[in-house]
Symmetry: C2
């Protein structure tokens, strides 16, 4: 077999895995042996196997060798959504209204989850996002102004949406995300001008930068919204 490209070798290995040549959990040959088999340098096989490990198809351990992962993990690419872009991609026009901007201290649950100290200066902002005059999402956000201070002042009400400002100003942060479905309560339904008890797609996202809490946000999306992932 005269394949010298790590890409081809990766593909060949995937085929051999798919064909059942190696059972789930089984040990596959070592790098040196595979390099001989494929007629290339060990480095090249290493590169192919490393890729497979990053893709979650195999597990590699020094001395332990390389094994087929029993329960493969798929990785999905997820872009941090900028609401304006989500709307405009659909060919609709975007605008937003900031409903509230308050300095009230956050609920206890949030304070605890985010490890906030009493000194942290927390702001609450509620924003309504529109797509072609229909409500697209209601955003409830808490921001840690203490941690955001180095990035300059927050945009004023009528400027850029906070959603977009944050993504562009504080990039490369870490965080987590939770998707769920809830039913709109009376007050929310009225705000979003949708029927009471309509199903809402909810995204809760919390963002950290360098161990300090930046922001947490709850996005309530009107019916019809979805999240698509290539796996």
């Amino acid at each position: 077999m005269a394949t010298h490209s790590h890409h081809d070798i990766r593909q060949s290995l995937v085929s051999r895995i798919q064909s059942g040549e190696w059972a789930l959990g089984a040990l596959i040959p070592g790098e040196i042996q595979l390099a001989e088999e494929y007629g290339c340098a060990r480095t090249t096989v290493n590169r192919a196997l490393r890729t497979l490990a990053e893709e979650g198809l195999v597990i590699r351990k020094r001395k332990g060798g390389t094994r087929i992962k029993p329960n493969p993990v798929r990785t999905a690419k997820l872009t941090i959504p900028i609401i304006r872009e989500q709307v405009e991609v659909k060919g609709q026009s975007y605008r937003f209204i900031e409903l509230k901007r308050l300095d009230t201290p956050p609920p206890k649950a949030i304070t605890e989850t985010l490890h906030l100290t009493c000194d942290d200066d927390v702001l609450y902002v509620e924003t309504l996002h529109f797509a072609d005059e229909a409500v697209f999402a209601l955003e409830k956000r808490w921001l840690n102004r203490t941690a955001l201070a180095p990035f300059g002042s927050l945009p004023r009400q009528s400027d850029l949406s906070l959603n977009e400002w944050l993504v562009k100003t504080v990039p490369f942060s870490n965080g987590d995300m939770r998707f769920s479905a809830i039913s709109a309560d009376a007050k929310t339904a009225e705000l979003m001008t949708i029927p009471k008890r309509a199903p809402l797609f909810v995204i809760d996202r919390t963002t950290w930068s360098d161990d300090s809490f930046i922001t947490t946000t709850k996005l309530l999306h009107t019916p019809g919204f979805d999240v698509y992932l290539q796996v």
Copy 2:
């Protein structure tokens, strides 16, 4: 700077990006220049930069150089869910009931989406999954028996759930996933023993293996279900 590890170099580059040394979209020095700067081989810098590109922090182009990505893409690891495990992780006991197993041809919409031919032998299965006697999810699944033939016969009604059998038998496939929220209609609500119009979290997933359609499934989750992602 005497850092010779691609890992350290990556970290250094991330810091320099976060510090604002290079603006979003800006061109950063080439591999050779960085290699001189860090006092290591170009290969090592290449490895660090390649990692950053895979992480979605930079964009690399031959001749065009390496640029800071304006809109960073975060990658989230997503495990293909096995419903039994999702339930058991929460400390609840799992069981399922297969409601239907029909040979009726699939709806036109599905046939077209999946590029099925007339020859393909398609099976429809409807399963109800329980967590501690409460309904956890309703699963509606179409399977392509033609493509599944090489993997042996499908489990019988009372055995392993099809969900689990598929994940373990046909691993390393490609596919896509869509999350959305809908309201339970009267019939569904009755089946799932939940209130009419309750908000359901829906996962639509389609799986392909080697260009042939394997299965498509719609999972309707009872209220309280969520999907969590580390970003």
